[in-house]
Symmetry: C2
Subunit: 163 residues, 2 copies
DNA sequence: GTAGTCCGTTGCTTGAAAGAACGCACCAGG
DNA sequence: CCTGGTGCGTTCTTTCAAGCAACGGACTAC
């Protein structure tokens, strides 16, 4: 069936996963972060079906995360480059790397990241901006913010969210 | 068709997204982080189909991210609690929140996180552990790590990965 | 003119999501 | 005792997209 859409939920997580949509989206972006730009390279790196790749690239362009830029004439060929909005997703990919390295890599990290200049290992972690410390889910509470739609507030509270 | 599996790729991103699988997985976990534990609550909060929810909860339990714990007899009823492996995913959810708040919330964040003790706003960011600074995708390189399978190394290099 | 490159499009098959209905075990009220 | 309510799934049908392979089209190189 058609995918359920989450893009209008009053929740940043829901909107973000709606944007990513499925696994291929994330993997295409991963490749993009690693420097891949062309259809053929995405396809052979990922082994994704060509029709699916076409569809996903269009979605990413439409969502403003990739930009389709011509790199030659006759015939016109385009490459797909990250926009700022796309680059913002790098943090999500980094969080995935972190988790995969920690929990899904018994033999050690399959790939490591290094600073291009200094050569130092790059080791992403998620922290609170102000304390600089990791965040424990049990130590936080959730409440409606400025972007929470007025008309759903009563309902949400009645349902026991924001308890 | 059957979903393509990524769990054996030599890439932590691929393994992590394979684990998350689809959007529902992430949203179920989000609810779990916010304190939801019971079938009925997941279902009504998310509006997910009951059959799909059943399937997803089983997957999460099987993957070791949730634990099925009885909370009453006659009839026996179970609730679903996060394990440590599941709690590790919170950082990914936080990265999603961050991105959604930054790029997908024109009216401001729909929900805000607060420290349960201090009441201070919690503002997740992804940084390098050593420098404490955000990470720019253009400033990093990728190379094979200890967990990269020996037998694929030659192939990967020939393909121009790790260039 | 034959082969190769790059980027898609088309067509077929199958499996999974969506959605609603049903089942089952128990409790509470009248 | 019978009805209604709660909590947790299971079953069924329909629809839509992933997976896969083949094809096409515009060039370049030999």
């Amino acid at each position: 069936m058609a995918r359920t859409r989450f893009d209008h939920w009053p929740c940043s997580v829901a909107r973000a996963v709606d944007l990513l949509g499925d696994a291929w989206m994330v993997l295409i972006l991963r490749d993009a972060f690693y420097g891949v730009r062309r259809f053929e390279d995405f396809q052979s790196n990922l082994g994704i079906g060509r029709n699916v790749l076409t569809q996903r690239l269009s979605s990413l362009v439409e969502a403003g995360m990739l930009q389709r830029v011509p790199y030659q004439d006759r015939p016109v060929r385009h490459e797909y480059r990250l926009t700022d909005k796309g680059r913002g997703l790098f943090d999500i990919v980094l969080a995935l790397v972190r988790y995969g390295d920690d929990w899904l890599a018994p033999d050690g990290p399959p790939v490591v990241l290094r600073d291009r200049e200094t050569g130092a290992r790059v080791d992403p972690i998620v922290v609170d901006r102000h304390t600089g410390q990791p965040i424990d889910p049990r130590a936080i509470t959730v409440e409606p913010g400025p972007g929470f739609p007025e008309e759903h507030l009563a309902r949400a509270k009645a349902d026991g969210r924001f308890a």
